[in-house]
Amino acid sequence: MGIGSFLMAIFTPLMEFIAPLVPGEVFPYFFTMELFQRALLAAILVTIVAGFLGTFLLIRNLALIGDGLAHVSFGGVAVGIVLGASSPLWYALVFSITAAILIHELQSREILTGDASIAIFLTGMLALGLVTLRIGGGGITTDIEGYLFGNLLLIDEADLDLISLICIFSMLLLTFIRSGLLATTVDPLSARVQGLPVRGIGLLFSIITAAVVVSMVQVVGTLLVTALLVTPAATAQLVGRSFRSCLVWAQAFGLSSVLIGLYFSAEYDTGSGSMIALVAATIFSVVGLFKFLRPFFLSLFPTGKSSEPTE
């Protein structure tokens, strides 16, 4: 029994238990039918890891690396499909991790600074995938769309196994290195002086990022990976007052984006990935706007402390 089926066995009773409380006409299927349950489970797993990972990505100024690695993964998926792989995600995993290691080395050895190395790998590996598709692909382009925009319902048991494996493993590793990771992120030189393995942690973090991105490709799609990776974490920065609270807020915003996004996509029959991304961005805008306007609201309703309004 794969790890995915194991998680399904644990969580399906819980899902079925909440199912009667779930609103909507189509959305409750996510809690009752196996195909949908699998999709929901994958989406939630991926969101939890993405929120955790995204908080670090944001501080490290690596918000767009997720986007880059997603394109690389897409190249891997394309090659995998043409070669007739049963689960092209494994190809994506190899592509993505290789690219992440190379990008990290190019940056840390200061051969290429900034985003240039990301840009090169993004386009290069994507192009490799597209060319391979054109030469050997024939008529299988329809399959590919699920990876571009995300298609939760295409996640089969083998996919869920891989997604769960990546998510659980990444989450464990991240929890394990979180203090060292924060220290090297906040002030690399001090961390080095303290004797922390700055380079090792950076490399491990890159590999984890690469793996998590692959696990997200089917859920939100190559083009929208950043929506779950960065947007909830960025929204959390607006309201959080400490690092710990930012981690919690990122989970809250991420999970609500997924649940609300799935609800709307089910009820109005839109793509799940794009709806999730749209909801995440909307939450960010609303929170941002509220934060921006807060001083204005506060001045409209003076508290007891201030003197009587002059008007």
């Binding site: 203090s179 924060l182 906040v186 030189l189 961390a191 303290q194 920065q237 400490s242």
Partner: protein, 269 residues
């Protein structure tokens, strides 16, 4: 050695010894034959104009830069060797030190100082909480320990970074321009704090600054660096501005030879 007026300096316990250090960066000599010794309990101020090699010297001491010629020893060990790791508390400029997008409280920041290569994976406390409390108390930030660092004033933020260095429990504290962007009051209270750390907590301090007055107020010993060490001696003997210009070789009005003689005469061995 001559007249260091401080009672608790232990000259027989050298902490930092720099011998004939020469460093070139992109074919330009930045440091030339630098010799330097800092002993336990000293408060040394390192001054020098922009581009004088102060940062290069610091990075060499921290072991970030590879040393091409000469040697640097900390507690008798190579910088960044197994034995010297964790024995330097590094305080970088507060303004450039923290990434803008991070929300991190004083307590969370200081706690990072308790990490080292061995305990970074451990969940156990092992007295780390106590160390954090002590460090926060030493810099007087108890009232704001749960406040996001980015909401603090410049002076408070610098204190938080110092607390992080104190939490490492290193005895040798290196500070890079800690006074930048601070108002007079914050600056004075920070200098008082550093003085206390040296005298009451027995820390050895090497502070880099281009604020001459500040260093004069606090350091026992001053070093003027510009490519090489132009002055190294007690603070009260530090030359006035005019002789300083001579030390620095700012004598373009004179001919080369004259300037050279002038230099030699003033240099303190």
């Amino acid at each position: 050695m001559q007249s260091t007026p401080v009672n608790d300096v232990r000259l027989d316990e050298p902490i930092l010894v720099v011998n004939d250090l020469t460093v070139s960066r992109s074919d330009k000599v930045v440091l030339k034959d630098v010799n330097l010794k800092v002993c336990k309990g000293e408060f040394v101020g390192l001054v020098g104009p922009n581009g004088s090699g102060k940062s290069t010297l610091l990075l060499s001491i921290l072991g970030v830069l590879k040393i091409q010629k000469g040697s640097v020893k900390i507690y008798g060990q190579q910088p960044f060797s197994r034995a010297s790791i964790g024995r330097i508390g590094w305080v970088s400029q507060a303004a450039s030190n923290l990434p803008r997008d991070v929300r991190i409280t004083v307590r969370e920041l200081v706690r990072l100082g308790t990490l080292n290569g061995k305990n970074m994976f451990s969940w156990a406390d092992n007295g780390r909480r106590e160390r954090v409390n002590k460090a926060i108390k030493m810099v007087g930030l108890e009232d704001v320990e749960n406040v996001d660092v980015s909401r603090l004033s410049g002076g408070q933020r610098q204190r938080a970074v110092i607390a992080r260095a104190l939490a490492t429990e290193a005895d040798f504290i290196l500070l890079d321009e800690p006074l930048v962007g601070m108002d007079r009051e914050a600056r004075n209270s920070l200098l008082r704090l550093l003085d206390q750390l040296c005298h009451d907590s027995d820390k050895t301090i090497l502070m880099v600054s281009h604020d001459l007055t500040a260093i004069r107020q606090t350091a026992h010993r001053m070093i003027f660096l510009e490519e090489k060490i132009r002055y190294d001696g007690p603070t009260e003997d530090f030359p006035d501005l005019e002789s300083l210009a001579g030390l620095r070789g700012i004598t373009h009005v004179h001919d080369e030879e004259h300037a050279h003689k002038h230099n030699n005469k003033m240099e303190v061995e």
